[in-house]
Amino acid sequence: MIQLRHISKYYPVGFGKNEILKDIDLRIFEGEFVSIMGPSGSGKSTLLHIMGLLEEPNQGEYLFDGEPVHKMNEKKRTQLHRGAIGFVFQAYHLIDELTVYENIETPLLYKNVPAAERKSRVADILDRFNIVAKKDLFPSQLSGGQQQLVGIARALVGEPKVILADEPTGNLHSDQAKEIMELFKQLNEKDKITIVQVTHSEVNAGYGHRIIQIRDGKIA
């Protein structure tokens, strides 16, 4: 599914460079649930961003579903964004001006899904996450856990193959975190969605099949 070969990422600092990732080789298979762990500044978020096409590596190759992403143009990347990848963020990043319903609907708008289908898909997701009653509320009217639930719903509505989650429970207390992790597990098992999460918590990491430790830009 995701194949990284000799990926390096660095920022220029003065005359030298600050290396974030050093020659990473990583393979994630379809249907896997992978947790990336490591201390602050070890490069785990950068790795996730590279997988999610939010950032470009300075060196190395990236194959998504066997296709070389590093050779794709802007248009194809956008299509990958729309179709294959869903994001979940620590800070939720819901759009404040839109209601729950509209937030979930937005990715479908960008995919040019017809109105009727959009309606039924958003309704399905709302139903499944038990947030139908909240569909007309704005993000500021929800608790953190509920906001993250909406965030996941929004990531899922586009029916992605992979969900990339950057500390999805970082801002939540443990009960809520557990709920979210259970949801991920269920999505992975029932819906066969590949999940890659970055986390600090050993407990959360334990939900995954595999834990990748990153230290000083290298897989330990």
Binding site: H49, G52, L54, E55, K75, T78, Q79, H81, R82, F87, F89, H93, L94, I95, D96, E97, L98, E102, E105, T106, P107, L109, Y110, K111, R154, G158
Partner: protein, 803 residues
């Protein structure tokens, strides 16, 4: 998708009421101002464009070399020129003479004052003034008249006007005309304006100088034949000069006039009819060619300021919306989709502003019409396809400029930086600062121009002209009364003994622009001691010097005790210089008969101050029939004096209209176009500064919001309120200062060009720019300090807690 955009735009508007208000308010005012000014400019440009033959129609003018090496241009021609053009210039298809004047017209005891045009038969074939009913060949008959639909309605009501007989007073004559046809009303954007049209020969019948080449008084238009070039026509016309004006040419040669650059003393020239509205050489010219441009430039400036606000606010706000933009990108929005979203937001804002601007324009239209002497109506404005499409095009352009740029910038944000909250502000604020500088440069430019315009206008109105302008009433004598000729003596008798009346006299020339419209003057050229002398000539009655308060410097005033005064003249100092006499008293002038100089008066400005005053000769005609009567009144109670004169006038002319006015009003009227310029400039300056300050206010709000934490920390560390206000204001005031430095030389340069139009003008003073600059800084400072004081007074704990 579109619904989503609109929805989010609407929610954004509601959430940020202050910004929405500033954006929409500024844009509304700007659109209203721009709309009105552009309509006015369009109206000016549309002058005389409706003639279908306009590409081949020209007005004839003549360029005459002067002894001092300069040239004068004039568009008044002798009567036989037209026939000569048609017969002797093969490239001229046809020609017409034209003259118009206001006359009293009566029918069935009803008297109206209407503009009568005198024209040759070819006039209607050349110009596009369609005839609605009646005989197309009316102008062939001396005793027939064409009248406009409106005049027909005014005179005849619902009666059929055809073949009715109306009476028109032409000077001493009272002529009867049969209505031969009804014409469409002359459009407002026509330089040639008349209510009725009669044949030119009936004017000549009255004036009686049909074949004289030395009496030049008529406008002449010609139509060039197809495929004939203007230079060719001019060459043929030069032949007419040599053939018919040899006498004048000889006189000029004798006076040592050097030929102009084309080697000729007298040259004919042609002005395209489509341009005469802006051509100073034509007597029909309305306003200077730069006025409509000025209106358009001010419109663009005001719109630019409002668009600047728009861009600054969208950019500023986009930092707070960065999260939304980044998220949308992560969800798969393409750049074009983001641009479309932000553009549609500005489209909505501009759309609301456009609507509000049009409504506002409709409300201020009456005031606008009054201020600038137009007759626009909203309904007719928007029935013009051209104006409508212009508005739509302008609107789209504004949304693209004001909304497109921020949208494009926003769509280029680095998604990840946005999501990480690392968006830098420093780089973008250069553009913001440039916009603020541009806005304030425009505002300062308009403010300083306004001050200088105003100074010059005040100077024009208050400069001593060498005669009493405040206490003298000038009354135009209408044609009916003029014919009787006893108006002056009767007014003298009626007003005699009244303590408010000091002196009464008459003349054939007015001072300034009277209520009867226009000014008139006469110039005579004659030989004095073997040299050609040219001077202004005015014919007056007794007591003229006393009435107008002219100062004698030598000799004496006209007096009833000298019977020889019937051939006496008084000259001004410049005329004395022109004659070359140290003591001109007793000098003999041989003009149209012999005159002797009895006195010399100080120079006075009988023309507008745009022109240098020139040599003047005042001739006494005892018992003359003056066209203008002057009454000098006691300064104690001017309105009462005016009332008395008016009452006295009504006993003399019970039916006529009293058109008397104080001379200073007449002088004001001379500077109408300058006053109009000042008004445009003032309105532009006010709007510019208001919109700029709105924008500055909003930017201050944004910047303070972004620096909230910094302000909090500084306060905790012990910064004073004034220290914080200075901190914030400093950045902005620096921009205003730069704007002043940019605007000052531009204003200085523009105003110097403008002032050169006047023979008498003020000097541009340095403190004007200082004043304009200080005004801008003070206004800007108050705008900023309003928000910054609020920020400085805020409890620092509050701003720090939110982090």
């Amino acid at each position: 998708m579109l619904r989503n955009y609109i929805r989010i735009a609407w929610r954004n508007l509601k959430r940020n009421r202050v910004f929405a208000f500033i954006n929409i308010g500024g844009m509304t005012v700007a659109i209203c101002v721009a709309l009105l000014l552009c309509i006015a400019a369009y109206h000016e440009w549309s002058f005389d464009q409706f003639h279908s033959n306009r590409s081949s129609l020209y007005e004839v003018y003549m360029e005459e070399a002067l002894p001092n090496g300069k040239t004068v241009m004039g568009a008044n021609h002798p009567a036989p020129l037209m026939a000569a053009l048609q017969q002797e210039c093969p490239s001229v298809k046809q020609a017409t003479r034209y003259q118009s004047s206001k006359r009293s017209v009566s029918y069935n005891g009803k008297t109206l004052s209407r503009v009568i045009g005198f024209a040759d038969t070819s006039f209607l074939q050349m110009f596009s003034f369609p005839i609605r009913s009646g005989n197309i060949n009316t102008l062939r008959n001396r005793d027939q008249v064409l009248i406009s639909e409106e005049t027909a309605k005014n005179i005849f009501g619902n009666e059929d006007p055809l073949n009715k007989i109306i009476e028109v007073k032409l000077g001493q004559l009272q002529k009867s005309y049969t209505v031969g046809g009804v014409m469409a009303n002359v459009p407002e954007n026509s330089s040639i304006h008349f209510d009725m049209l009669v044949s030119f020969s009936s004017l000549l019948e009255w004036y009686g100088n049909e074949s004289s080449w030395s009496y030049s008084s008529y406008y002449t238009f010609l139509q060039v034949k197809e495929h004939a070039s203007v230079p060719l026509v001019l060459k043929q016309m030069q032949g007419l000069v040599n053939k018919y004006m040899s006498e004048k040419l000889q006189g000029m040669k004798r006076d040592g006039v050097q030929p102009g650059k084309d080697g000729q003393l007298l040259t004919y020239g042609l002005m395209p009819v489509g341009d005469i509205h802006f051509d100073r050489r034509s007597d029909l010219a309305g306003i200077g060619a730069f006025y409509p441009w000025l209106m358009v430039i001010i419109s663009i400036m005001v719109l630019a300021i409002a668009a600047g606000n728009f861009i600054n606010l969208s950019m500023g706000r986009s930092f707070t919306r960065a999260g939304e933009i980044g998220m949308r990108k992560a969800l798969g929005a393409r750049k074009t989709q983001l641009i479309a979203q932000f553009w549609s937001e500005s489209f909505i804002l501009c759309g609301i502003s456009l609507f509000a601007g049009i409504v506002l324009a409709a409300f201020v239209l009456p005031q606008f019409n009054e201020l600038f002497r137009y007759h626009f109506r909203m309904a007719s404005i928007f029935s013009s396809i051209r104006i409508l499409s212009g508005v739509v095009a302008g609107f789209l352009l504004i949304t693209v400029l004001a909304g497109g740029y921020p949208a494009w910038m926003i769509s280029r944000f680095k998604m990840l930086e946005v999501l990480k909250g690392k968006l830098s502000l420093g780089r973008k604020s250069i553009f913001r600062n440039v916009l603020i500088i541009v806005q304030f440069s425009i505002a300062v430019l308009l403010i300083s121009c306004t001050i200088i315009l105003w100074q010059q206008l005040t100077y024009l109105r208050s400069r001593p002209l060498g005669y009493n302008q405040h206490e003298v009433i000038s009354i135009p004598v209408n044609s009916g009364l003029l014919q009787k000729g006893d108006a002056l003596s009767r007014l003298r008798t009626t007003l005699a003994g009244d303590p408010h009346i000091l002196a009464v006299s008459g003349s054939n020339t007015n001072m300034g622009d009277g209520l009867d419209g226009g000014r008139n003057s006469a110039t005579y050229g004659f030989d004095y001691k073997g040299r050609g002398v040219k001077c202004n000539w005015s014919m007056v009655e007794y007591d003229y010097l006393q009435t107008l308060g002219l100062h004698l410097v030598a000799g004496r005033d006209f007096s009833r005790e000298f019977s020889t005064d019937s051939s006496a003249v008084i000259i001004n100092e410049l005329m004395a210089k022109e004659l070359g006499e140290k003591d001109p008293i007793g000098a003999e002038l041989d003009v149209i008969g012999k005159f002797h100089v009895v006195g010399v008066v100080k120079n006075f400005n009988f023309h507008s101050l745009k022109e240098e005053t020139g040599p003047m000769t005042i001739q006494l005609i005892p018992g003359m029939k003056p066209m203008y009567i002057f009454v000098r009144v006691l300064p104690a109670d001017l309105p009462l004096a005016m009332e008395k004169v008016k009452k006295a006038w009504h006993t003399i002319d019970p039916d006529g209209e009293f058109e008397g006015s104080f001379l200073d009003e007449n002088i004001d009227r001379m500077y109408r176009s300058e006053a109009r310029l000042a008004k445009i400039s003032i309105s532009g300056a006010v709007v510019a500064i208001v919109i700029s300050c709105l924008g500055l206010f909003a930017i201050a709000v944004l910047v303070i919001a972004q620096r909230n934490k910094e302000i909090g920390v500084r306060k905790v560390l012990g910064a004073s309120v004034s220290g914080i206000v200075t901190l914030i204001a400093k950045d902005f005031l620096r921009l205003v200062l730069i704007a002043i430095l940019i605007a000052t030389p531009v204003a200085w340069y523009l105003m110097r060009i403008w002032l050169q139009d006047f023979a008498y003008h003020i000097d541009v003073k340095w403190w004007v720019f200082l004043l304009a600059g200080i005004t801008a800084i003070v206004i800007a400072f108050f705008t900023i300090s309003f928000e910054s004081v609020k920020a400085a007074l805020m409890n620092p704990v509050k701003s720090l807690k939110t982090e």
